[in-house]
Amino acid sequence: MTERISSSTLEIKDLDVSFIQGEKEANALRGISLSLKRKEVHSLVGESGSGKTVTSTCIMGLLPPQVARINRGEIFLGEQNILALEEKDQRKIRGKEIAMVFQEPARYLNPTLKVGEQITEMLRLHLGMDKGEAVTRALEILDLVGLDGGKRILGSYPHELSGGMKQRIMIAIAISCDPSFLIADEPTTALDVTLQLQILNLILSLKNRLDMGILFISHDLRVVRDISDWISVIYAGRIVESASKEELFSNPRHPYTRMLFESIPDADKRGKRLKAIPGKVPDAENIPQGCAFHPRCPIAEEICGSNQPETKDVESNSALDSHTAACHLIGKQWKN
């Protein structure tokens, strides 16, 4: 059958993307770099409008060409810069090398196609299987994502399945061609809490079985806590801090990350006021000068409003891991 590129890394280098609408330009990504290895879960955490979905859309090559402009940057799948590929060749990567799971399975599945068709069409296209082979493989995949019911499920329409089952189907579609990398864009946000855990477990177990690298996109630090190897925090189109999970949770250095942790309500903070982050998330058309976070930062100084901070290595608790942050005032005492 077709030979595999079988890449072991997915690397984004200095990606800068704008959306142009008439006179307005929204600089959605302002030089993002991150790398992902197989068998690793790298979480990208940010609020709405921070650029996390633009990042995943760009990796998949699905930015709308009419309005999106890639100003600079590269995305390497192994040795190959996939941004430089023709649409035809990008298509061979989509779904086959890099697959994606979306937030709301109910909307991201075709309502009028049977589930079986939605899985097998990919197998036939990318792997050249015939109908019988594809069905056999689809049944194996259903088993893999923990759906029993086999043929009955293949013959049903999405709306006949529960929310959790639909998300399992989404995942089945994504892993059907045995991709090297999986982008999971808030795959549990639309689900009930008791289902969230199941889906997270499933993604983790599939990662181990299929040796996939996972880029996990979320707005919630708590959700990524259990599954991540590495976490990058994104704010206004830039990665402000990046470290291993243990390091980030025990030793957050960027003021934004610190404040995110402090603002999360839980039972331990009962009776105390939450430390809220003042102000609002900047929109991509009006990103503040200098450090984008400085208007909301309690320790900001003059330099923060004028110069954009470089991403620097910071002291890590563990000697093995690197820990980077983009802040002028990393050494400064954190007022609690």
Binding site: L62, R91, G95, K96, M100, N110, P111, E121, L125, H159
Partner: protein, 308 residues
């Protein structure tokens, strides 16, 4: 089982619709001031003549009895005899119906052949040549009256370039020009709807999934988007077809075709009450049947509808 139940439910609704429509028809004709018998008989008629006509019309008994008789007629599908020709209303309608049916089928098929591909092209390549072409076409289709188009067609393709016959209704060839005249405007409506539905479907989230799967544009458009867009298109096309079955009065007149439209037109001219009543009920039944068929087709296309 689910599906069977759905069909039964829709069928009962169909029966109910027909019952309501025929009741309305019955009372409209009775409520309108003036005695139909007087109208039919004319001013010079004697009291005996009028009485005789009342007897023929069945208006000489109390309304309650008339209504029960009327319902009985509906159930048996028997509308009595034409007051002019004396032939049974059913026979008159059935003589004309095949022609109208053929014309309507030809018209809608022509319409679909033009409209759906053009609508899809317009939606997929927005602001391209095809899109502008589609826009111009749909503007023209809605603006040009069918009688004018019919006459121009006759003038060009029957008189100047005699490709098609000018008169007659016995061969399919006779129906080509009328079908074009009839389908032209319908196609405009279907085209606009197809374009709108495709544009809408192409912006839905499942299209992003399809793209993320690495499917080709062809598969995304025709397998994923078109299938969903068709749900709306089928409904509108069905209703358009229903209208055409009621008889295309103007087109039949222009092409001198002995179809249902002309039959009913003359029935109105001649105040042939049994024929008018029968005709209206017939059209109502046909329309309801088409709707019924559309509902079923719709549910086949849209799996959600069967459950809810």
């Amino acid at each position: 089982m689910e599906f069977l139940l759905f069909i039964v439910r829709r069928f009962l609704r169909l029966i109910l619709t027909i019952l309501i429509i025929s009741t309305i028809i019955f009372f409209v004709i009775r409520v309108i001031p003036g005695d139909p018998a007087l109208v039919v008989a004319g001013i010079d008629a004697s009291e005996d003549d009028i009485q005789a006509i009342r007897a023929r019309l069945g208006t000489d008994v109390p309304v309650a009895i008339q209504y029960t008789r009327w319902l009985g007629d509906i159930v048996r599908f028997d509308f009595g005899e034409s007051m002019i020709s004396g032939a049974s209303v059913n026979k008159l309608i059935m003589e004309r119906f095949p022609l109208t049916l053929t014309l309507a089928v030809l018209g809608i098929v022509l319409g679909i052949i033009v409209a759906i591909p053009l609508g899809v092209m317009s939606a997929v390549h927005r602001w391209s040549f095809w899109d502008y072409f589609g826009m111009v076409y749909s503007q023209m289709g809605m603006a040009i009256p069918s009688f004018w188009l019919g006459m121009i067609l006759l003038l060009v393709f029957a008189v100047k370039i005699p490709l098609f016959p000018l008169f007659g209704s016995d061969s399919l060839k006779n129906l080509v020009l009328p079908a074009i005249a009839l389908g032209f405007a319908r196609a405009a409506v279907i085209l606009r709807l197809t374009r709108a539905a495709m544009v809408e479907e192409l912006s839905r989230e499942y299209i992003i999934t399809a793209r993320a799967k690495g499917l080709t544009d062809r598969m995304i458009r025709y397998k994923h988007a078109l299938r969903n867009a068709m749900i709306a298109v089928v409904t509108v096309t069905g209703i358009q077809f229903g209208y055409m079955l009621g008889g295309a009065i103007i087109v039949e007149q222009v092409f001198s075709l002995p179809g249902l439209g002309r039959l009913f037109l003359y029935a109105i001219y001649q105040r042939d009450f049994p024929l008018i009543q029968g005709g209206v009920v017939f059209i109502a039944v046909i329309f309801s049947l088409v709707n019924f068929a559309v509902d079923i087709l719709y549910s086949l296309l849209n799996p959600k509808i069967r459950i809810s």
